[in-house]
Point group: C2
Chain length 299, copies 2
Amino acid sequence: MAALVECVPNFSEGRRLEVITEIADAIREAGARVIDVQADAAHNRMVVTFVSEPALAVDAVLAGAAVATQRIDLRSHRGEHPRMGATDVIPFVPFADLPMPVCVELAHACGARLWKELHIPVFYYGEAAIRPERRELEKIRRGGFEDLRDHITEPDRVPDEGTAEVHERAGATAVGARIPLIAYNVNLRTTDLQLAKDIAKTIRASSGGLPNVKALGFALADRGLVQVSMNLTDFRVTNIWKVFTVIREEASRRGVEVDASEIVGTIPLAAAVGIIRDAVVEPAFRMDQILEKRVWAAE
Amino acid sequence: MAALVECVPNFSEGRRLEVITEIADAIREAGARVIDVQADAAHNRMVVTFVSEPALAVDAVLAGAAVATQRIDLRSHRGEHPRMGATDVIPFVPFADLPMPVCVELAHACGARLWKELHIPVFYYGEAAIRPERRELEKIRRGGFEDLRDHITEPDRVPDEGTAEVHERAGATAVGARIPLIAYNVNLRTTDLQLAKDIAKTIRASSGGLPNVKALGFALADRGLVQVSMNLTDFRVTNIWKVFTVIREEASRRGVEVDASEIVGTIPLAAAVGIIRDAVVEPAFRMDQILEKRVWAAE
């Protein structure tokens, strides 16, 4: 296969099956490979995961957005999840060794077309952010559709693409580029919850610990263990081996052993290769040294 | 893609470009994806690496073997590499999560057809061996074509498929199933070559060390280091993390530090996942948790 990009658009529809299907079908019919569709009725929201050649990805997500713009009216939309658009968020994510700058370019091409073709104002976030303060999606979307509608003309709320007015029914869309987040836990052989909370505080970025690490301490009461539960928001900066060894060291200083760790869900191949690079001190180890990658990536 | 198998047939032709091309083309035209063709004039031997759906793999390698049988005459073949057949060795190798028993079945189907269609007697080796003493290819091939021709009727030399007579021109073929070998080195911060040799001896299987490990000690004189250089012949039994930690421990006991390690060439994804499983104590980590694998393997 040629290089691929992953795209994970979120749409504000989680209840009407015919709309959910119509959006996913539009993406598929534009030539993308839809890997997963998840809809949640309480959130009234759906998440499509698709991959495609980079050249096709913008067409595919715009086909979905066109349906969402026609079929969703935010003025009457209710759901638990914060949202500001019928097509709420469009992140482009590198697949295998696709460089991040390609994803940033796709995000900007997509944003320009969302405005031009569907008249939806766009905010760029993540690595595609044009204003540094817009890197965090939460900051762009604070207050949701209703708040943005009333405040979009304010200097710090005006969109990056389009005029300072929300689309009457479809609101606005955040378009971005980001790498996949890794969910990772380390379980410790103690029932001392405070110890897990202390270690979580030591390593989390917000308390001055390791960059790009979010961490909390939990009790696993039924197993007689405690857990340091983490999100690694940029494994290129802080990867699993680093947090594993720091937590093991911090626990050991307190006389506690690691029981095991848990990689939750999936990790990118690049992260797996990075863990090996760190763990066995093999700084030159590359993704192309994975036997199957050579075959798969050449398809 | 559907499940794939890798096959690495070795043919006794490394000089006549038209024969080399004809063999590789026959395999390609049978529907396999030829990844690599290496020919060596001194060895007078070529190695084809191809992948295909399991159902196609036997057809593809037989197409190559048919050309080799027509075009190569072992009675006049000379080369440095030991060989007993025009089609000398056919190993089937699992790709991604293809189970080894599938490779064993393919080897047996291939062997039966080599005899039936091309009248070439077959010896099964590796995990496809029927006689335990034939697991090692070297033992089957000892003495080469000329020796086998004279001794094939002896009880311990009779083939597993076919009658006890070599094919007049094409000899006999070893057909097997095996997992990929891993070449791995650990470099130590000392110029004491004996130390590397001692550690190599401690860990190699043949001196009672770790199973499925071959190891030698070398000097890296220009870098002021020594190296423990290894082949791991079955990473399912002894993988990189295990030898890395044992060597680091042995070196540390002698007051020497690890400089770095080197993974030479490629390793299977299953081995990479295994290293992570061992290094961060994550016994449940699976190949399907590699993000890209889900997409690639579904092609």
